[in-house]
């Protein structure tokens, strides 16, 4: 671990165990580091897990699975791609991936923000409980599955079964939607939606017209069983 500048710390992942790296991150953060740079992350899993300190960790390279998982308050920037479950169950804070990510991006996030500049695999924002997942590219199938609250913004295309069985929350898609999932329905975007989108797009430097996004919400037919709506339920039960 080397201090490069005041309140900035470098950690070389090469030759260190994941446990050692995460312990050094927490120690540096508790000692007041403002930014921690991880060198040679080399696609390693479970980096920056359960980081609760208000610190920025910058990965100079690819991350493996669960990068920034269970984050609460910190910022993680991946200068590369990330594997499955990036930012999973984030409570607050921010994860940014300057690249593509695997399946389950932002799964079950309760709050905070995940921004992916490239594409996300299947099941992005699955069971989202709060916060925002913004994807500059496209997302795979079953994204927004069983979403509960929060927002998923997709600047590219969305795969099949988008928003399947959503309870609540909102999905915005600028490109093509392969298909909507069970009980996911189109809704008209209002001023609040446009304002939200404008803010998100500007913040991430994404050039898109907010009014070009399609808004998708829950049809709420699956909230409670009704034998009169079997056509909806037969795919959802």
């Amino acid at each position: 671990m080397a201090a490069v500048a005041a309140r900035q710390v470098e950690i070389d992942c090469a030759g260190r165990s994941t446990r050692e790296i995460n312990q050094q991150i927490r120690r540096a953060a508790s000692e007041g580091a403002a930014e921690i740079v991880l060198l040679h992350p080399a696609g390693r899993h479970n980096l920056c897990v359960a980081l609760f300190d208000p610190v920025t960790v910058r990965l100079r390279g690819d991350a493996g699975w669960y990068c920034g998982g269970m984050l609460d308050g910190g910022t993680v920037v991946v200068e590369g791609n990330a594997g499955w479950g990036v930012a999973e169950n984030t409570m607050s804070g921010r994860v940014e991936v300057v690249g593509n990510v695997g399946t389950g991006a932002g799964a079950t996030m309760h709050g905070g923000e995940l921004y992916v500049s490239g594409d996300a695999g299947s099941r992005a924002a699955i069971s989202l409980k709060g916060g925002a997942v913004v994807v500059g590219g496209s997302v795979g199938y079953m994204s927004g599955f069983m979403m509960q609250r929060g927002s998923l913004v997709v600047c590219g295309d969305a795969g099949e079964a988008l928003g399947d069985s959503m309870y609540e929350g909102t999905i915005y898609v600028a490109g093509e939607v392969a298909s909507l999932g069970a009980d996911a329905v189109d809704a008209e975007a209002g001023d609040d939606d446009l304002e939200f989108l404008r803010g998100e797009l500007e913040r991430h430097g994404v050039d898109h017209d907010p009014s070009s996004f399609r808004k998708i919400v829950s049809g709420r037919k699956l909230w409670n069983f009704s034998k009169k709506e079997f056509e909806v339920w037969k795919t959802a039960m």
Binding site: F52, G85, H110, N224
Partner: protein
């Protein structure tokens, strides 16, 4: 010949219009009622508890205590150890149970706050663990329970990494015995504003939890997930993996390979707060044969004693628990038995049982939220019927009785530690139980084998 002659000698309920009634075994009254109920409600039937079927069970085994061939310990006096230490496989701080029993995961939502509190207090006094459930850690749950296992469920309702770090162990739930391969269910009547907010759900919805985890699927993925949980807790706490009993031999090996410190194996008799009835009755395998397979799996992998095994589903008393230990489990987990100790199915408030369409002793209506004794309800008036202090004392007494029964069996078999019980201490009372356990059928000197 008169009709009355035909009917003579038969019980009244087997006779109608003077003739003997001949009900079908295929289209029995139960089947007819089932079809007509489904024709009315337009979906599968939902209820709580566990299967109503007779399964091969621990009751099909009997202990063969010491006689002249072995020397027993004094049944009411000599020391018989029950202390159980689990979860040390990967260097975490292990869990110490004063007796080899745990309270299974049951959510605040499925259970009332008073029920959860009573279970926590009882477990703490006895020196065993309780487990959270869907919806996460209830406010006060950490304080109520000295040893608390935090579940990591597919839904992640209420999952909070701070709570994970406060826990003594984490339990990754792959499935449960009552309904393996499916997720949790909490119906509208129990989805109060409080429960809904804890789960980030709209009030009054029928919550159908996912079955697949959102960020991993198979055993290789599970290994990385377990490592993530270790990173989140700095390796301090043991990681359990809970599975419903299906392909036990393979599943236990895979869970162990994925890094589980403790495997919780929940058999067909395992119960739940709400489930499609078809799943309760037609999925999974019973706890007793599942235990045998799990022990064999760990033995084949050379992990017996290193990966600990907790079995659950249909454990009714200390004798069932002692038999599970004799088959090789390190501990048992109880859910329904603990609820019954709380007062479940107690013959009081008869009118409320009737309103649910049932009676005390046969109530499995937890899913309705109308629990007459305040255990599986969120109705504030019903919850008042379960004062937690009194209720916790009943559970404490029951847990103590289980410990005494386990010790009694162990001492009678000449064992000074309940964990020293072994298959040789038992005989099978049925051919089925002999076949699945490899224990000799009573009266034979070798196991029944195909």
């Amino acid at each position: 010949m008169e009709n009355g002659d035909v009917a003579r000698g038969f019980a009244n309920d087997a006779v109608a219009g003077g003739r003997v009634v001949r009900p079908s075994h295929i289209w029995s009254p139960e089947v007819i009622e089932d079809i007509q109920e489904k024709a009315e409600i337009g979906r599968y039937r939902i209820r709580a508890y566990s299967t109503l079927r007779r399964t091969v069970h621990f009751q099909d085994l009997t202990f063969v205590p010491c006689t002249l061939t072995r020397i027993p310990l004094e049944g009411y006096r000599e020391r018989c150890e029950t202390r159980t230490v689990i979860g040390a496989r990967h260097g975490a701080e292990p869990i110490t149970l004063q007796t080899p029993i745990t309270i299974a995961g049951m959510s605040y939502g499925a259970l009332s706050a008073n029920a959860k509190q009573a279970l926590g207090w009882a477990a703490s006094r006895v020196g065993i663990s309780t487990t959270t459930g869907d919806g996460g850690m209830r406010p006060g749950e950490r304080e109520d329970s000295n040893t608390l296992v935090y579940q990591v469920l597919p839904s992640r309702y209420g999952f909070d990494p701070h709570h994970l770090q406060m826990a003594d162990a984490a339990e990754v739930v792959i499935g449960q015995g009552a309904k393996p391969g499916t997720g949790g269910l909490l119906l509208e009547s129990k989805m109060s504003a409080t429960i809904a907010e804890a789960r980030t759900l709209p009030e009054g919805v029928d919550q159908r939890s996912p079955v697949r985890h959102p960020d991993f699927f198979g055993p290789d993925d599970l290994q990385i997930k377990i490592e993530e949980l270790r990173e989140a807790t700095d390796g301090r706490i043991p990681i359990y993996v809970k599975i419903g009993a299906c392909r036990v031999l393979e599943d236990v090996k895979l869970a162990a390979k994925a890094g589980a410190d403790v495997i919780v194996l929940d058999g067909l008799e395992g119960a739940t707060g709400a489930s499609p009835e078809a799943l309760l009755d037609h999925t999974g395998i019973p706890t007793m044969p599942a235990t045998v397979l799990a022990v064999r799996a760990l033995r084949e992998e050379g992990l017996e004693g290193e990966v600990n095994l907790i079995v659950s589903g249909g454990i009714r008393d200390g004798v069932d628990a002692a038999k599970a230990l004799a088959l090789g489990a390190d501990a048992v987990s109880i859910g329904t038995a603990a609820l019954i100790a709380l007062n479940c199915n107690k013959p009081v408030h008869h009118e409320d049982y009737e309103r649910l369409g049932t009676r005390a002793g046969a109530c499995h209506h937890c899913h309705t939220g109308g629990c007459p004794v305040g255990i599986t309800t969120q109705d504030p008036e019903l919850v008042k019927r379960l004062p937690p202090q009194e209720a916790s004392e009943r559970v404490e007494h029951f847990l103590n009785s289980m410990t005494m029964e386990m010790q009694m069996m162990a001492r009678a078999c000449g064992k000074s530690d309940v964990h020293d019980l072994e298959p040789e201490d038992m005989r099978a009372l049925t051919l089925e139980s002999s076949l699945v356990t490899g224990i000799p059928f009573a009266g034979m000197d070798r196991p029944v084998a195909l």
